[in-house]
């Protein structure tokens, strides 16, 4: 017998799980940049085989980030709120991943 319910539950669990994790993380990033703190990550240094971001592009991006941090239409309290919610999003995202891993470990049940 083919267990279609299992297939359905795998599909459902992965689509809901992955979407939630990605959405929470993306919301966190969005709120971070709303709060005037857009993350800026320089690509790590390694062999010259990879050119995903050129130094010029990285520099331009850094400049934009510095500029954005200076001007924001939000009040200080609003910024603080956005930052707090952003952090909450990241925490929820991490908690969701850990919950997912916890679910599959039989030792915990």
């Amino acid at each position: 017998m083919i267990d279609w319910i299992s297939f359905f539950s795998v599909a459902f669990a992965s689509i809901v799980g992955a979407s939630l994790v990605v959405a929470l993380y993306a919301f966190g990033l969005r709120l971070l940049s709303t709060a005037g703190r857009p993350p800026h990550v320089e690509p790590a240094e390694f062999t010259d085989a990879i050119t995903v971001v050129t130094p010029e592009e990285a520099e331009r991006e850094a400049k934009r980030v510095r500029k954005a941090r200076k001007r924001s239409p939000l009040s200080r309290a609003q910024k603080r709120l956005a930052l707090a919610v952003a952090r909450l999003c990241f925490v929820l995202c991490a908690a969701l991943v850990l919950f997912g891993v916890w679910l599959i470990i039989p030792g915990f049940h």
Partner: protein, 448 residues
Amino acid sequence: MDHTLLIVVLVVVLALFFDFTNGFHDTANAMATPIATGAMKPKVAVTVAAILNLVGAFLSTEVAKTVSGGILTAEGPGSGVPTQIILAGLVGAIAWNMITWLFGLPSSSSHALFGGLIGAAIVGAGFASVNYWVLLDKVVLPALLAPVIAGLVAFTATKLAYVITRRYDGLPDGRAGFRYGQIFSSSLVALSHGTNDAQKTMGVITLALIAGGYQSQSAPIEWWVIAACALAIAAGTYTGGWRIIDTLGKGLTEVKPAQGFASEVSTGAAILASSHLGFALSTTQVASGSVIGSGLGRRGSRVRWKTARRIALGWLLTLPAAAIVGAVAALVAVLGTVGVVIDVAIAVALIVTIFVVSGRQRAGAAQMKPTAIAKGVSDVAKSSRVVKIRKVKPKRPKRPKKSEVAAGPGKKKPKKKGKGKTKKGGKNKGKGGKGKKYTQVKGKKGNA
């Protein structure tokens, strides 16, 4: 009885070697994207991947139970699949892996393993030794469905990631932060790889133990089997790290951090959920499905059907092809002791060849010989070429207004007005707006 013990020991050794090569093969799958987008340095990435593979192998035993207790009937010495047939199946799987690796064909070590075992079992122990329903339910259908599901999940997740972070005001959208996220998402992939792939080897070893009469059918997986498989896959992952650098130069060029994050979370979620329900799927295929799906989730994406077809064909071929190789190995094995010795000799020869060729590849990589390196590209990296991304400039309707406000009523205002006029003119005249708009603006400029 000594005979059986020897064969079981050989199965354990070969299975662990298979596990090692699996880790060796698949480091790139988990860790290529974070390195490509600059989220992690290669050495750190490889170490993290190895540790998480180790941890992942201890998490669950559902897949191992599927392999040891479901697909083949092995109830002890004298009934079901004998140990030498399992050995033959393993030799078949290693041989098929070797062939695909040498010729750079898209393949899946998991399917090679199942194919080899099934082929060997059918030849060595008859058609009745395979539980076809379990095979269909736990291996074949997951193989077909999982990449599609993963692709769908990745498509949705990528769309979400882009829509949520999209900004129209020209300010930084914070997508660079997905690079940090990728450190965790790729770790999740490494973890899920450990849970699914290491368990297949555990299952094969347990199957041999059951067939040899050293373990009862209902007993849980022995702890030393779990530990050995975990260590083997972790060691393989760590050793396979150098191939990543090759992969990067050739493969993943267009994977953006947001896309990489979404595709990895999807891969991790799909594999973990499947592992939990005992589906033994190919992690490579799931990761490939996710990469393709997430590519399609981006704007301006188009499928290169030719590449897609080639990859899909390779996937579909793996199981039957490995089954044939396994069947041949089983034909040799049923000859008796001589056959087993021949099979083992073939396996040893293959292992030596793998080491020699990989050593040469490594030397080739050092000397930048492109032909040698091209074979080291991971299947997932190849699958990223299925989707072609046309560069789409993000629409920023508000931006001209802002600069206008910032600059005050200066030079830019008349230019804007002019644009508006030409637009209206274009609309009134109906079709062919673009060309006319352009000439009108040009004409105006010429006048001024």
